[in-house]
């Protein structure tokens, strides 16, 4: 097959690289300034994939610089497999989120499963044991068979991989909007725990040290996605394989145990370790060399292969799963081999570290690549993208006040909106309790999952939050709210927010309007990250998310982890006692643009989103955290989609208790979505102490009762709803929609 590959001159003339995503300007720059000759077929392929946005962040990098990524706790920021934060006692928490949107649109089970597999490898390649998984899923409306198929398969894929690996899925979110119909968002996050001494980095340094390949064999899966044009292969030979990788969680479980044994017990054998994720062998090897300012030389004939006749190009670009690249000290290769063989895994020396800064590959005794390492990693042409405020935002209407005739019915209807309704039917297919450390899982109305840290008093609260609707109407405020909501979620569990990871899900960045949205969202997120002292320690960018030529809502997904100093002090999101006082932290304004209520009543998202004083909101949340930590709070639940009404209803679910509240406002305010609010309940005996902490930031609205009903009085209405009935309506909505034959 080698001799059928185009010659360098043919590549220059026929420009196949355009279909692989490299521009003519980039190609010319590589020829003239980086390698001073024409690249051959394999080299051109390596450039195309390493210079892609996915690997190089060439378009988003100037914007990502806006994020704070350091503080006194951060041990590792962006640039490695995952970020690391110090949690005391010589322990650290490691986390990252990653999107698998496009693979999940094409093959939802494997797309979602391998998304989980990839994020887990990022965690254990840092030397941490994964202790939790989270997801953030955004689908189209549940009104057609294809969306139901996507939901069922994505959820089964996440569960299939995570359950088998024995990592609990403890939190997440699932929302529904038409804009995601052809392009669902499947974001997975993992959190790991480690001893600080075990921190590993993806580095290949020390001339003569060995590059070892471990794990699954390399096949043709995942090569270059859908852009792999037919010109690459003669039609009489191999046809293009699936662009989506296939996962094998059993293989990954063995790989994880072997890698953790190597790192925890034999760190002295190891120089560096990195996952073969996107762009497989090429990205892992050249990044490891680049970070150590080394060169690397590899013999591709030694790479374990699942299929015969693979070209150098295919071996390097394959995205076969469950593979890891190690840099091992010369002399320890036999020890490492023995360790991995114990787990029945392939383990092969495929190359070595050199000192000449060159990236050299041989295949069938020929040198097929000989280029500077930096030309693949550091010399990528940064692209300045034009940006422009989208037309739709120039004439948005003022925030309009919805008229509510029957607030009781409105609440019932809102509780049955898929974005708000119980996701139990989906989340109970995830093993949320394996590892026997789950203090709060996904099956209730929990704002965040909690994992206790065995052997300490500590707990880790974790959440994912991504709301595209506010971003659609105002990307900057949407970015602010994504971070703020995540913080409110972990604070409601009594955790101090530590840091965030993100998946930036946007449309085509070549569209100046989309690039403007990305810029604004990042700026908004960065403002709140600074305010809350929660730096961005890892993340990814997923661009080109489009549905019928329309970009999705700008959907920045925030994954946040918070530290609970004493996990015995965490509070339930359900009320626990009657005759407690009910407070709302934060002011409620007329915030209906982008709300679930607006979508339900008008079928669309529209209007200006109000600015909010985030200094004030963040300060109020911090006081709420103090109250929880001081044990002045008996239950806490964040206010988000559907507003206060939904929060109050959810707080009485799964209890035999109720609430009696009165608001000095019109009934529509019950459904306003002013960001950054939390409902707290407090024992009467603690009233004075609580009010001392919160001051004017909390408003008392009523009390908990012994009867299982929600009683609400506003200036224009009064109603009473039975808790059991309400809970059934909330729980039955999604099973009912999933069964429908429409």
């Amino acid at each position: 097959m080698i001799d059928q590959e185009m010659t360098p001159q043919e590549i220059k003339d026929q420009k196949p690289y355009l279909e692989w995503g490299l521009t003519e300007k980039e190609y010319d720059y590589i020829c003239d300034h980086l390698i001073h000759r024409l690249p051959n077929y394999t080299e051109t392929g390596l450039f195309a994939v390493m210079w892609s946005e996915h690997c190089s962040y060439k378009k988003s990098k100037p914007l990502l610089k806006l994020f704070p990524n350091k503080n006194e706790r951060v041990l590792q920021g962006p640039g490695e497999g995952a970020g690391i934060v110090d949690i005391g006692d010589d322990q650290a928490v490691v986390f990252k989120a990653e999107s698998h949107n496009h693979p999940s649109a094409v093959e939802p089970y494997e797309g979602a499963a391998t998304g989980v597999g990839g994020i887990l490898r990022d965690i254990f390649s840092m030397g941490a044991r994964p202790i939790a998984l989270l997801d953030s899923l955004h689908f189209g409306e549940i009104n057609n068979a294809h969306t139901r198929y996507l939901i069922n398969e994505v959820v089964a894929g996440i569960g299939g991989y995570g359950n088998c690996m024995g990592i609990p899925t403890v939190a997440g979110e699932t929302t529904f909007d038409e804009c995601y119909e052809g392009n669902p968002l499947v974001n997975a996050m993992s959190v790991g725990l480690m001893n600080k001494k075990d921190i590993q980095k993806g580095r290949a340094s020390g001339e003569g040290n060995l590059i070892m390949y471990v794990g699954a064999k390399t096949g043709r899966d995942g090569i270059h996605g859908a852009t792999f044009a037919s010109t690459d292969f003669d039609s009489e030979h191999e046809t293009q394989r699936s662009a989506v990788q296939v996962g094998d969680p059993f293989m990954e479980k063995l790989l994880m145990e072997a890698c953790l044994e190597l790192i925890q017990k034999h760190a002295d054998w190891l120089v560096g370790i990195q996952d073969m994720g996107a762009a497989g062998l090429v990205s892992s090897s050249c990044e490891m060399a680049s970070k150590a300012n080394s060169g690397v030389k590899m013999n591709l004939d030694l790479v374990p292969q699942r299929e015969s006749g693979m070209s150098a190009y295919e071996i390097m670009l394959s995205e076969s799963q469950e593979r890891m690249l190690l840099c091992v000290k010369k002399g320890n290769q036999a020890d490492v081999r023995q360790l991995f063989e114990k787990y029945n895994l392939d383990v092969v020396v495929i190359g070595e570290v050199t000192s000449d800064h060159q990236y050299v590959l041989t295949h069938h005794d020929q040198i097929v690549t000989d280029i500077p390492v930096s030309s693949l990693t550091d010399d990528v042409l940064q692209e300045k993208c034009p940006e422009r405020q989208p037309e739709r935002l120039t004439h948005l209407k003022e925030n309009s006040l919805p008229k509510i005739d029957d607030p009781a019915q409105t609440l019932i209807d809102l509780l049955q909106q898929p974005t708000i309704a119980s996701k139990k039917v989906l989340t109970q297919t995830y093993d949320s309790q394996v590892r026997a450390s789950t203090v709060a899982g996904p099956n209730a109305t929990n704002d965040a999952g909690i994992i206790r840290v065995r052997g300490t008093q500590k707990g880790l609260a974790m959440t994912t939050d991504g709301n595209g609707r506010f971003g659609y109407l105002n990307p900057r405020i949407g970015g602010q709210i994504a971070v703020l909501e995540a913080a409110a979620n972990v604070i409601a569990k009594g955790a101090q927010p530590l840091a965030i990871t993100d998946c930036l899900n946007f449309g085509d960045p070549n569209d100046p309007e989309v690039y403007w949205e990305l810029h604004q969202s990042i700026a908004g997120m960065a403002e709140l990250c600074r305010e809350l002292n929660t730096p961005v320690i890892s993340g990814n960018v997923s661009l080109y998310n489009e549905n019928n030529g329309q970009a999705i809502y700008p959907t920045p997904m925030v994954g946040m982890v918070g530290l609970i100093s004493n996990v015995d002090h965490t509070v339930s999101s359900h009320i626990t006692q009657d005759e407690n006082l009910v407070y709302v932290v934060g002011q409620t304004a007329d915030d209906f643009s982008g709300s679930e209520l607006q979508k339900m009543l008008t079928g669309k998202i529209d209007g200006k989103v109000n600015e909010f004083d985030y200094h004030q909101t963040a300060s109020a949340l911090q006081k709420a955290l103090t109250a929880v930590e001081d044990r002045l709070v008996t239950a806490a639940h964040d206010v988000s989609e559907g507003g206060l009404g939904v929060t109050l209803a959810e707080m009485i679910f799964d209890t035999s208790l109720g609430m009696d509240v009165e608001m000095n406002a019109q009934a529509n305010r019950l459904f306003s979505e002013t960001p950054g609010r939390i409902v707290l309940t407090v024992k009467p005996a603690d009233q004075a102490a609580f009010e001392m902490v919160l001051g004017k930031d909390a408003t008392m609205i009523g009390k908990t009762t012994a009867t299982h009903e929600l009683k609400v009085k506003t200036t224009d209405a009064e109603f009473k709803l039975n808790g059991t009935q309400l809970q059934h309506q909330w729980e039955d909505a999604i099973p009912c929609l999933m069964k429908s034959k429409d």
């Binding site: 089964a156 569960g159 299939g160 359950n163 088998c164 690996m165 024995g166 094998d248 969680p249 059993f250 293989m251 479980k253 063995l254 787990y343 029945n344 109970q428 297919t429 995830y430 093993d431 949320s432 309790q433 394996v434 590892r435 026997a436 450390s437 789950t438 203090v439 099956n443 206790r452 065995r454 052997g455 996990v567 015995d568």
Partner: protein
């Protein structure tokens, strides 16, 4: 007391059992790989949950053929206590140390949630600390927990008091006679789908499974 926890490739509840035994029960628990061939010196054997061999082919089918299972059989034949939890239960049925099979759940999905159980037999080495007919709650987490045996075998299990745990209120997976756990005729080999090791401490929401381990500890050795 020395307890062996068998580790098959793909087991993932082994460390949870180890934690409960070492940290909560303060007894010596050792991991024994499936490639080992003897269990000398151990007083009890635990087969953990997980996805041995990825649950490929059939849950527990490949694990049942591993070298350690010969030793587990000898250990069981000598009358010493053996328990298989979740995947461990599946392995014990595949190895014919317990009757019946575990089919896919009747809704064909993985189910993770707490279930209500009744302790039907408190005479096994793993249930003596429970009161007969005691109602408890334990979490389940499985795709294949739907116990089935032919009617004659089920009758025999009922007659001989070999049903150890039964689902009450609601059967989550379609098992015959609401069976959640059984034992062999002699009573020393127990298999159960629910996870007592995930319900052994209040902080994780429930400690009603801890008596399974306390029962084992109360055995005289």
């Amino acid at each position: 007391m020395r307890v062996a926890i068998i580790v098959f490739p793909g087991s993932n509840c082994d460390s949870d059992l180890h934690y409960v035994l070492e940290n909560l029960c303060h007894v010596s628990a050792k991991y024994v790989p499936s490639t080992a061939t003897n269990l000398d010196g151990f007083d009890a054997v635990l087969l953990p949950g997980g996805f041995s061999y990825g649950d490929y082919l059939r849950c527990g089918a490949i694990a049942a053929l591993t070298p350690i299972m010969g030793a587990v059989r000898q250990f069981a034949d000598s009358g010493k206590p053996v328990i298989g939890i979740c995947n461990g239960f599946q392995i014990l049925t595949e190895a014919h140390l317990l009757p019946g099979v575990l089919k896919k759940n009747d809704n064909l999905k993985f189910i993770c949630r707490p279930v209500a159980l009744q302790v039907e037999n408190n005479g096994t080495p793993f249930t003596t600390k429970y009161v007969k007919d005691e109602k408890i709650h334990l979490p389940i987490a499985h795709s294949d927990g739907n116990f089935y045996a032919d009617p004659a075998t089920v009758d025999e299990l009922e007659q001989n008091h070999q049903i150890v745990f039964r689902y009450v209120d609601q059967n989550p997976n379609g098992s015959v006679n609401n069976i959640a756990g059984i034992c062999n005729r002699r009573g020393n080999v127990v298999g159960m789908m629910p996870h007592p090791e995930r319900a052994s401490e209040k902080i994780v929401g429930n400690n009603e499974g801890f008596k399974v381990f306390q029962s084992l500890l109360s055995l005289k050795h």
